[in-house]
Amino acid sequence: MAERVAEDGAVAAGGASAEGGAKAGGAGPRAPAERPAGHGLLVPRRSRVLEGLRGYGLIAAMWIRSTMTYRTSFLLSTFGNAAITLLDFVAIMIMFSHVDELGGFTLPEIALLYGSCSASLGLADLLLGNTDRIGTRIRDGSLDTMLVRPVPVLAQVAADRFALRRLGRIGQGIAVLGWAVSELDQLHWTVGKALMVPVMITAGAAIFGAVMVGGAAFQFIAGDAAEVQNSFTYGGCTMLQYPPTVFAKDLLRGVTFIVPLAFVNWLPALYVLGRPDPLGLPGWVAFASPLVAFVVFLPASLAWRAGVRSYRSTGS
């Protein structure tokens, strides 16, 4: 499951970078060469996606090799990455040692929310999480080097310092999710509900990924503001691991209509659990997550593109 999702996310990354890099990223040698062949705009555009993916793959592979040099450190940090999320869940279990329900939800139901959003965030973080370093790069000038390389900038920014240890969080999330599914056997699983689980994780990862790209673009204006993005990704995931019934309606409206985090797992999971939506939205919204995942990349990649185009080096 993780494998397929990983490819999906990478396509999304390449897609966005093709948009962003095409104008600003110092035209790669291949794109102009193919343009005279007369295939119109589509061919070079597509090749930039492939180029971005190829560059991403090469850079990521290099970082994986370098990570493996300090093997003890890698194992410790992968374990630590899994443990961070595990302890989050232990905290929820401690809560449930005192109560039977939280916001009307039982522990396995919350585990479903927790596991899915943890896996989604882990995937997005593995593939695109390093984009939050862009503020540091702007400050120390290392972004300039990336602009002259023949690989889309977003692919470089996302793949640089590729942190394989983040597999820890994904594995942990999927483990909790598996436990939740095994405990929720009274749910009358249908094919639709069973399919909803992987779809929810993939779409959720894409939504988090778009937030990361958008947050990185924001740093072109705001400077070193990586933490703003964290409050939507890590903060969002902290929120999404609890049932929506716990939160104020205005907050729910905000994460449904403004930053559509509710589509990461709440709305699909409510369908799986057979529970009504506290905002009373129509039933079909549960299936809208993949669509939302595509739609949110539009403003994110436009913002990224605008950010790269407006970039002026610090010049020191």
């Binding site: 003890t72 961070i84 401690i94 809560m95 109560v99 070193d224 990586a226 933490e227 609890y242």
Partner: protein, 278 residues
């Protein structure tokens, strides 16, 4: 260097002021941090309300005390470097590159130098990142903040002791680089432990049974749980004072023990330093 003899206190004071100013430079990063702490504060506040609605009095707190606990801990976590950050990564980098040899050559104590710098950083983050989220939390929710100035003074003493304990533990992490070279893994583990055992996820008084008693005597309790309890502990008259004195003693004991351990490890580590070239 051009200055004549600077007193020891003056030297470390200058290092601390440098640490303060260094972090004060990054206004956007601070604003972003305030935003993040506030967002997390709101999210956690709703989960705490749900939990304390279900079980009033859980962990010995009523709902407004639980909310106070949470908002004060949001205000303290950047200063205490409980979610990472602080000096240890820079220290490890200096060990890896060999720059630490220059630090050892300075006419200043290595541990005291870094302590001063880290307290300067923490001082800025306490003001820059602590005050605003706490005020917003206080406006949005019913908090049980004390009004007696003495209580706040005791709280600040407790926070200072907590910061020293936090430094002393992270100094050990920094020294670990002499043996491990790459600190990423051990830093990550340390962050995990401090998030869980400091009481940031849930007050340690909510942890059940013997496990709860165990986590409340670990040094991480001295970083967050104890300072917040000192702030909240004003309600009981005589018992409150004794409990506060005990809490401060507990923190001081950990601070002394861990700083001492740091010195031992430091002397072992510096014997490993090999200066290359010349």
């Amino acid at each position: 260097m051009r200055q004549p003899v600077v007193g020891r206190a003056g030297l470390y004071g200058a290092v601390a002021a440098g640490g303060f100013r260094r972090y004060a430079t990054y206004g956007t990063a601070t604003a972003a941090g305030v935003f993040t702490n506030t967002v997390f504060g709101f999210i956690l506040a709703y989960t705490y309300i749900a939990l304390w609605d279900e079980r009033p009095g859980l962990g010995g707190y009523d709902q407004s005390e639980a909310l106070t606990f949470m908002w004060v801990s949001q205000a303290l976590l950047a200063a205490g470097a409980l979610i990472g950050g602080g000096f240890q990564e820079e220290f490890q980098e200096r060990v890896r590159t060999g720059d630490i040899a220059v630090d050892l050559y300075r006419p200043a104590d290595l541990q005291a130098w870094w302590l001063a710098g880290d307290l300067g950083r923490a001082g800025f983050q306490l003001l820059g990142r602590g005050v605003v989220p706490l005020v917003i939390g206080g406006l949005a929710f019913q908090l049980a903040l004390p009004t007696a100035p003495l209580r706040w003074l005791l709280f600040l003493v407790s926070v200072l002791l907590g910061l020293v304990v936090s430094f002393a533990l992270r100094y050990l992490l920094g020294l670990a680089a002499f043996w491990l070279m790459d600190g990423a893994g051990i830093n990550m583990m340390a962050t995990v432990v401090s998030i869980f055992f400091s009481g940031m996820l849930l007050p340690l008084t909510v942890f059940p049974g013997g496990f709860g008693e165990f986590v409340r005597v670990l040094p991480w309790a001295a970083m967050l749980q104890v300072p917040v309890d000192v702030l909240l502990g004003g309600s009981g008259a005589g018992g409150g004072a004794a409990r506060t004195a005990g809490a401060l003693g507990f923190q001081a004991a950990w601070a002394v023990a861990l700083l001492g351990l740091g010195r031992l490890v430091q002397s072992a580590a510096t014997r490993k330093v090999v200066v290359q070239g010349g």
